[in-house]
Symmetry: C2
Subunit: 295 residues, 2 copies
């Protein structure tokens, strides 16, 4: 494998990031602890899935790493760039569903794919609030922009637009949330891309944990809970209808429970639900229908 | 339009069936009433969506009819059989999610598509229990088999197998429930197919309502509710990942709220949940992993 050293370095990185991010989330939660499942992939490789369920402030979170390799599956052969019959993939995926409806859900991932002479990174991070706090969206975006500026000066606006375009539900006319950044296959020196991805992984807790910390204690009741669970339905719709990682992972025999850890713990679907004009709930809809510049 | 009379006859049928099935479900529920939403399709046609939410015994149900027509959408052109640039489609879709976890969810639909010289019917009905009552599965299948025998003698076994094959979640290794029948584009005289579809629509309440009636009053608690909500998660996974009607409807600009009325009202996703060996919950898993003959 031409990029063996790069793949090894990425694996060491995502394992370290996993430990750090798990520790950071446990510290903010204060009570919940992440369980640990190690799994093997029959075709080669495996991963470590860490899931926290029913914490104090975190209702469900997953922080997963995987390193898989082997023969390119037939279904992937035409879709996967690069050349040759073998591939390797290393990834870190994070999803956090807080209990408090005033605290936003977040998702982040970084990944490296290698096939023959080609190796490329992808990843991103985005924020899905149920109630809009503009300062949270601005803080999250500014931290991500900082990571971009340190490694890819000038690229944040296009990464932000790519994120807005990707996390979009056409049948709802809604974006998933207030966005973040998203990128794939940037080209250039892969070791420099690894440094960018590393910075992004270290930046993520600074972008999200303070937001979780300051919203997790706010008061909420049945009204806020209902709205959160309805909006979580949109999260499910996006992940199962559109998310390439989810659909591709399930199609190619990935570990189902690790892939679907992203789905929220409790969800509602109410027929034709519309928040009343002028409410906080409607204010959220306005911003997810027309993305803003936050950073 | 070559099949205008057939399309008109199907529309009259599905409207009558809608009224009957709504009345039957309201009678069994005893308290809830179906709301009525009439909608127009910009490209031609429209429909009537009837939804019952938070009834006494029915937590959520939808009984929808639509008749749409117009230019064949570009995305459909290659996938849709027949010839010519215009199409018509008439359909009835039913989904019932009872409140009591011991009462099964059901789904049924019948539809007619016409394009140029070709007109063809499709449809089916299936049962998704959370707890297995063998007599319920047998009753449901026997009623459906009866409708098949009256119009398509000898075809029930293949319609049953088609249903088992269709309602399958490969990433779970599970069928959606205990099946039923499913068929599409049978060929032959379309007026005879219409008579079959009519019989199926009249048979459906006899197949399902007695089952709902006898399970809706059984005792249940938090354990059964948790299991029901976890299993409803599989229902969501099937509909958003695999159901052709759902995915196709959303892709081609169908009315989102009418299409997604099929999704259950309250759903849970628990990481890596497994019922204990020997429990009722595990007994259900066995039967949805290995379909049986019920009729």
């Amino acid at each position: 494998m031409e990029h063996a050293r790069l793949v090894d370095a990425m694996e060491a990185l995502v394992r370290e990031l996993q430990d750090r991010i798990v520790a950071g989330l446990e510290a903010v939660d204060g009570a919940g602890r992440f369980a640990r499942d190690e799994w093997q992939r029959p075709g080669g490789g495996g991963g470590v899935t860490r899931v926290l369920a029913e914490g104090e402030r975190i209702e469900k979170a997953g922080v997963n790493v995987s390193r898989v390799h082997g023969a390119v599956p037939p279904r992937m052969a035409a879709r996967l760039p690069g050349d040759g019959d073998t591939f390797a993939a290393v990834g870190l995926s994070i999803v956090v569903h807080p209990r408090n409806p005033r605290a936003p859900t977040t998702h982040a991932n970084v990944r490296l794919l290698a096939r023959g002479s080609k190796a490329w990174f992808g990843g991103g991070a985005d924020l899905t609030p149920y109630y809009l706090f503009e300062e949270d969206a601005a803080h999250f975006h500014r931290e991500l922009r900082g990571a971009c500026e340190r490694h890819r000066p000038g690229d944040y606006p296009s990464f932000k637009r790519t994120c807005d375009a990707y996390f979009y539900l056409p049948h709802r006319g809604e974006h998933r949330g207030v966005g973040g950044i998203f990128f794939e296959d940037l080209g250039g020196d892969p070791w420099k891309e690894l440094a960018f991805v590393e910075d992004l992984g270290r930046t993520f807790p600074r972008a999200y944990l303070p937001v979780l910390e300051r919203r997790a204690g706010l008061p909420w009741g049945e009204r806020e809970r209902e709205w959160q669970e309805i909006r979580r339905g949109r999260y499910v719709e996006f992940n199962l209808l559109h998310d390439r990682g989810t659909v591709f992972g399930l199609e190619t025999g990935g570990r189902t429970e690790s892939i679907l850890m992203s789905l929220p713990p409790r969800v509602r679907w109410c027929y034709d639900h519309h928040p009343a004009p002028g409410t906080e709930e409607e204010r959220l809809l306005q911003v997810i229908r027309a993305p803003r510049d936050w950073a």
